[in-house]
């Protein structure tokens, strides 16, 4: 098995500066948000209390950050050490994804100076799904940093550290926690009840969200590996990704069977063809799920880097749309409420994504993250 090594190279490259500028613009709007209130930079309102900050930065962001979770599930639970080289970059992306989701939550909540109340036993409400999500995500962020800590140690000492019992516990916890909160991110919207279109409102939401999140995890690993290869001028890891990608159609079939079966059983399938924005978005969402299923069902396509990348993009968009649909597009509080993210609001989200990319660039260049066999081509 190949060892992970720092990529090295200059930190201040063209793309780095581009993302830095976006991050700085976002920081300007952040200042505005903290000085004048959330309404000063966002279009969020009493009808749509959650905007893209929750939907993208937290719900989609953590789903994209499920690479670490999905890979850990594959490597440790299904005992498939072959994929070990993919674990650490996935873990790094997860770490940033989740950490920045945590930061987003801090930006998004109105009374952020009370955020510690979540941890105070006399305030906790164990009926609250959000409490579970908050505690799980907080714990998982900590776990991710601990799981990733060997990279720091290796960078310092230059030797590969042994996995000890304590770390095994954290790896196990690192699988349990996302299972809990990724499903709960679905349960959250059960309370939206009548405000959420029946195309998305179902008591099955937790299960659908969980399966989707795991699928997204593998997808993101493929995406990330391909983009890293292109970005850092490394070898494409098509061989290993081809094997990994077999998981995706299986998960997609489970996902789609539950999704459509549930919809048909509840008798709301007709809404999909109502011609409304919601109906069309539902169709688009599922086309984006079915397309990769069709592509990846074929073994030749799975070995084709282009096809792999195409299906990964399609599925990521599909997963993104599924979450946007559940949290925003399918959500209709009625009586004249509208929502479209304002410029400042969008910029804060873009800056969070940019910050994530920036950090990923720095970490990959300075720490042993990517496996060394990719570096053969220079």
């Amino acid at each position: 098995m190949s060892e992970a090594k720092p990529v090295g190279g200059k930190v201040f490259t063209g793309p780095f500066l581009f993302f830095l500028v976006i991050t700085l613009i976002g920081i300007f709007f952040l200042g505005k948000r903290f000085m004048f209130g959330i309404g000063a930079v966002t279009n969020m309102n009493d009808g749509f209390p959650w905007g893209i900050w929750i939907t993208y930065d937290v719900v989609v962001g953590t789903a994209f950050a499920c690479g670490g979770y999905s890979m850990a599930l594959l490597v440790y639970v299904f005992n498939n050490g072959e994929y070990h080289p993919l674990v650490r970059p996935a873990l790094l992306a997860s770490m940033f994804g989740y950490t920045l989701a945590g930061v987003s939550v801090f930006i998004d909540i109105g009374r952020y100076w009370h955020i510690y109340n979540v941890f105070l036993p006399w305030f906790t409400n164990f009926n609250s799904i959000l409490l579970e999500v908050a505690l799980c995500i907080a714990a998982y962020i900590a776990v991710l940093w601990i799981e990733f800590s060997p990279a720091f140690l290796e960078a310092k000492s230059g030797t590969k550290s042994k996995v000890n019992k304590l770390l095994i516990f954290f790896i196990a916890l690192g699988i349990l926690l996302p299972t809990m909160h990724q499903s709960s991110l679905g349960s959250l919207m059960i309370l939206a009840g009548n405000k959420l279109s029946p195309l998305w409102w179902t008591p099955m939401l937790p299960l659908i969200f969980l399966i989707s999140a795991i699928t997204m995890g593998y997808t993101v690993v493929i995406f990330e590996s391909t983009v890293s290869a292109l970005g850092f001028k490394r070898r494409l890891e098509t061989d290993i990704l081809a094997k990994l990608s077999l998981v995706i159609p299986i998960l997609l079939i489970i996902f789609l069977v539950i999704r459509f079966g549930d919809l048909l059983m509840r008798g709301h399938f007709g809404l999909a063809f109502s011609g409304t924005l919601q109906g069309n978005m539902f169709l688009l969402e599922n086309i984006l799920h079915i397309l990769p299923l069709v592509i990846l069902a074929s073994a030749t396509n799975r070995k084709n880097a282009k096809m792999l990348f195409l299906s990964a993009c399609s599925l990521m968009l599909g997963g993104l749309l599924f979450r946007f649909n559940t949290y925003l597009i399918g959500f209709d509080p009625g009586t004249g409420w509208h929502y479209f993210p304002a410029i400042g609001e969008q910029f804060i989200t873009y800056s969070i994504i940019s910050a994530e990319i920036l950090l990923y660039m720095i970490f990959v260049k300075k720490l042993p993250v990517l496996s060394s066999h990719g570096q053969a081509r220079a």
Binding site: N43, N45, C313, Y339, F340
Partner: protein, 370 residues
């Protein structure tokens, strides 16, 4: 205090031209006509060789309507009946009496056939052939039926004449009936000026309108002139702000009552009574029931005054709900703005473009790796 001479000088026996024009202009304003109509009214009232003749019949009434009319000061009654109209017969004001008066009435009706205005005060009993109200031995029902077809128009003054009023209250022993019902189907134009009593100026304005334009003023579905009865008392009430702010007198003499709060809870019928009392007021001194602290009791509204108990809260009427209330569905904005849409578009386009570029690069990479 000793009255000064000049106080009395203001009451003219003969009206100066200037005063007269002022009266006519004021009348025009009451009716919602432009002030420039004042001279026109003056012309109509004086230019005609003969002043418009008026026959004033009395049914079951209390003379309250006449009394209220007597208290008008611009014009004063004598000016009205001597200069503006020719009041040829009115039981309360007749100088003559008995056969003399009856003969003069018959003569005037014959002479002015089709030209005179017939004013009816009081309700008309119809039970038992109308025997409960007779004038000169003749039921007023018959007098009305004989006279009305010869009149140019009939004005029913007061609530009794317009919808039965006090005499028609349960159990209505005389079969008191409003004038318009008796004349129903005859095609004779009827104008209702309800009120107990009605404001003298509402009557006066109606007469002068007819004299000036030779047609009836615009009437509502209950035959009331719209210029006077177009709005609810509630709409222009001086206590309305208290109503809107939820400040009510709960009992007579309580804190709210002393503070002049809204009288709705004491049973004020202003919210269901169409009249102009709250703006025109009475007796030329700005008084009316509500500003003395008593709730309106809906005297001029059919089915309200003398029908609904004095302190039962009114059924608030509005032709349409007020504009102040917000509709069920309000647009809250927060929708898509061009800038935000453009930004999102640029980013989405950028991502798709980057995807396409990446696909191309993969091709190149694969070729290199092969």
């Amino acid at each position: 205090m000793k009255c000064r001479e000049s106080d009395f000088e203001k009451i003219p026996s003969g009206v100066s031209r200037r005063d007269f024009l002022k009266v006519c202009t004021a009348t025009a304003v009451y009716m919602g006509l432009p002030a420039s109509f004042g001279p026109k009214i003056a012309e109509a009232a004086t230019a005609a060789k003969k002043r418009p003749p008026v026959i004033w019949l009395s049914g079951q009434e209390c003379t309250g309507c006449t009394e209220a009319l007597l208290r008008t000061s611009h014009p004063t009654l004598e000016h009205l009946i001597l200069d503006l109209i020719a009041l040829d017969y009115a039981e309360t004001l007749n100088t003559g009496a008995g056969h003399q008066a009856e003969e003069y009435r018959a003569k005037s009706i014959e002479e002015n056939k089709g030209k005179f205005i017939l004013v009816c005060e009081g309700s008309i009993p119809v039970k038992d052939g109308g025997i409960y109200c007779k004038i000169a031995g003749k039921p007023v029902l018959e007098i009305l039926k004989e006279t009305a077809p010869k009149a140019a128009a009939v004005i029913a003054i007061g609530s009794c004449a317009t919808w039965g009023g006090v005499p028609s209250a349960e159990p209505n022993p005389t079969g008191a009936t409003p004038v318009y019902k008796i004349l129903e189907g005859t095609g004779i134009p009827v104008i209702n000026i309800p009120g107990c009593p009605p404001n003298g100026y509402n009557f006066l304005s109606t007469v002068l309108y007819y004299v000036t334009f030779k047609k009836l003023p615009a009437l509502d579905d209950k035959l009331r002139p719209k210029f006077a009865y177009g709005r609810l008392i509630h709409e222009n009430c001086e206590r309305r702000p208290h109503f809107d702010a939820g400040r009510f007198a709960e009992q007579f003499g309580d804190e709210g009552h002393l503070n002049g709060y809204c009288l709705y809870k004491l049973g004020c019928k202003g919210p269901e009574t169409y009249n102009n009392c709250s703006t025109l007021r009475f007796n030329d001194m700005g008084t009316w029931p509500v500003n003395t602290g008593h709730p309106c009791f809906g005297c001029s509204e059919e089915g309200v005054g003398f029908n609904i108990p004095l302190h039962t809260p009114a059924e608030v009427k509005n032709v349409t709900p007020g504009a102040v209330q917000t509709p069920i569905n309000v647009d809250h904005g927060g929708g898509i703005s061009p800038g935000a849409a453009a930004l999102a578009g640029v980013v989405a386009g950028g991502i798709l473009g980057a995807g396409a570029v990446a696909m191309k690069k993969i091709d190149q990479e694969e070729k290199k790796q092969d």
